[in-house]
């Protein structure tokens, strides 16, 4: 009996240890910022990302088409020469959810990225650059959409 009780206690301790070990990597892996992606306005996304209010900057080269014939595929690109930028986020002001994507750069890559986004309607698109020490800059452009890419 003694042995059995001892065993039980030990296995409980081991289980707790395993659970603790299991939880940590899981938490580290799912860094997905649900709050930010569910934001329905630029302000909500800024709050979700936990960043300061962005300041407009000419040092972000942001390219997007003037007119997007098909809102389902809008090519955008952003690059910046601002020092210390670790993160670039793309926001579409009038999409049902404002935040399109966030890119996190290490020192091994240039702070430059191209991708394609969906737009529901004509809207301002923002490229927000965030530095390691919490400075936030943005560049924006209005993209006219003739055919929406979100919803029916």
């Amino acid at each position: 009996m003694q042995n059995r009780r001892e065993m039980m206690r030990r296995s409980a301790a081991v289980a707790a240890l395993l659970a603790g070990a299991g939880v940590l990597p899981a938490r580290a892996q799912s860094a997905y910022n649900r709050a930010a992606f569910e934001g329905k306005s630029v302000d909500e996304v800024i709050k979700g990302l936990g960043i300061a209010k962005p300041v407009e900057s000419k040092d972000i080269a942001f390219t997007a088409p003037d007119i997007a014939e098909n809102g389902a595929v809008v090519p955008i690109a952003a690059s910046t020469t601002l020092p210390g930028v670790q993160r670039i986020a793309f926001l579409v002001e009038k999409n049902p959810t404002t935040l399109a994507g966030v890119f996190d750069f290490t020192d091994a890559v240039e702070t430059s990225v191209k991708t394609r986004i969906k737009m529901g309607q004509t809207s301002n698109v923002l490229a927000v650059a965030i530095t390691g020490d919490g400075k936030v800059f943005y560049a924006q452009k209005e993209v006219k959409v003739t055919l929406g890419g979100c919803g029916g």
Binding site: F37, V92, T106, V113, T115, M119
Partner: protein, 103 residues
Amino acid sequence: MSDPMRIRAQVQGSGAVVRVLMAHEMETGLRKDAAGKTIPAWHITEVTAALNGKTVLTAQWGTAIAKNPFTEFVVKGAKAGDRITIAWVDNRGDRRSDEAVIA
């Protein structure tokens, strides 16, 4: 399992330009099917790019990234023969990883 990604990585100047085309529906969760039922959201949430096994770029994506997502970025100091690995996870927990050698 999903279709493989198409990854092209080429040396340009002092780095390598990496272009990735992923095969994914990227459903927004806002569209309705013919019967008027909402099609649930199904999209890539996290992307990781690694050079020779070391993570160089990560991304989080929402529903507004276009179907069959395309991404281009530049890896500094990468040389021909280096390996680029791209991995993604979607909101259903599906994952895929593909590799290419820099040309």
